[in-house]
Amino acid sequence: MCGATEGGLSLDGVNTKIEAIVQGQVTKSGEPVSTGYVRLLDRTGEFTAEVPVSATGHFRFFAGDGEWTLRTLVPGADPVDRKVEAATGSIAEVDIAV
């Protein structure tokens, strides 16, 4: 799928033209994190969604247009916040090192 993370989560069956996708990979010391969570917070900081990372550290959200914050929860690491701008019809790639 064009624009998807190489080796990341499949977008088969998803109409990417109508979605504002935010996705990426969480790493620790250069290696993908296989146990952990990523939260999506809205522009006011309110929790919107949370996903467990995949075995390869990947995550994906279907957000709306605008600014969001990603927050990691990984065993043995402090949470890391990353701001991201999402837009319908595009995929925002965010790689996060914790």
Binding site: V14, N15, I18, E19, T35, Y37, L40, D42, T44, E46, F47, T48, A49, E50, V51, P52, A55, R60, F61, F62, A63, G64, L73, P75, G76, P79
Partner: protein
């Protein structure tokens, strides 16, 4: 009910891993999570196949629920401890479901799978064997289940607590943001419903906040505890989490979960819908 009667800690679960009268059951939104490792001795319930009728949109009936628990080796006098991912969303849904069919002794593992993982506690791949039982369920307790007509009738009368994220409540999103947004129903919320996202009741590690914090959250949001309450979300699982908080932890009377929730209400012809961040008028 109270926190002490309805929640157990991870330490309590570890101390009871070999107790044959304690049945651990994992219920996840991601129905493959169990297969990647689970708490020792835990069995799995799949909310999409085990707990839902496969033709109509409804739950399995009493006889099907009895057959399911009998086959999985759950007895009427067992202590059922539910846990799952996503801050116990679907475990809370299963908890409500067990209560709906009258199971007496059911509890949630505080923090669920997430806290267990964040604590780096042991997960195993071995599948437990439990001897079949003869489980007897009760008729559905509809004092805890709301249907669409009573939800419409509750507008401006009862507490309606919409526990979705603010963007879903306002109509800017149609589904939680980890799911694709393409949906058939209209966006928005039931007029006069207040928005208290389920997540406000949980700490980052998935455990429930203290009774004092919870009372403050719902009090500040305008929940009138002299009135009956209906909780709703998109498909009834996040609202099970809030139903659990209001009914089982805080001990409110007459709290129902509307499992039809927004995917039903937002598809009804002719019902009122409010858009934006305010509750709107009756």
């Amino acid at each position: 009910m109270s926190r002490e009667n309805s929640l157990v800690t991870a330490t309590w679960v570890e101390e009871n891993l070999d107790n044959p009268k304690v049945v651990l059951i994992e219920v996840d939104e991601d129905t493959t999570a169990y297969d990647k490792g689970h708490i020792k001795g835990a069995i799995k319930l799949d909310w999409t196949t085990d707990l839902q009728d496969q033709v109509r949109r409804d739950f399995v009936n009493k006889a099907q629920f009895e057959a399911l628990l009998s086959e999985r080796g759950v007895a009427n006098d067992d202590t059922v401890v539910l846990y799952g991912g996503n801050n116990n969303w679907f475990a809370a849904y299963a908890y409500w479901y067990f209560k709906l069919y009258g199971h007496q002794d059911v509890k949630l593992l505080d923090g669920g799978r997430k806290k267990w993982e964040l604590d780096s506690r042991e997960l195993v791949n071995d599948l437990p064997e439990r001897a079949a039982t003869t489980y007897t369920a009760q008729e559905q307790d509809t004092s805890i289940r709301a249907f669409r007509d009573e939800t419409v009738a509750a507008i401006g009368v009862q507490n309606l607590v919409d526990v979705r994220s603010p963007d879903e409540y306002a109509g800017r999103l149609l589904a939680p943001a980890h799911l694709p947004q393409e949906q058939a129903q209209r966006a928005g919320h039931v007029p006069t419903s207040i928005n208290v996202p389920w997540s406000k009741a949980a700490n980052d590690d998935g455990t429930f906040k203290s009774d004092e914090e919870l009372r403050e959250i719902y009090g500040e949001a305008g929940l009138d505890d002299s009135k009956d309450t209906i909780a709703l979300c998109r498909i009834g699982e996040r609202s099970s989490h809030t139903w659990f908080v209001l009914k089982e932890i805080l001990g409110h009377q007459n709290v129902k979960n509307y499992d039809g929730s927004w995917t039903e209400y937002g598809s009804l012809v002719g019902v009122p819908i409010a858009l934006g961040d305010e509750p709107g008028e009756a």
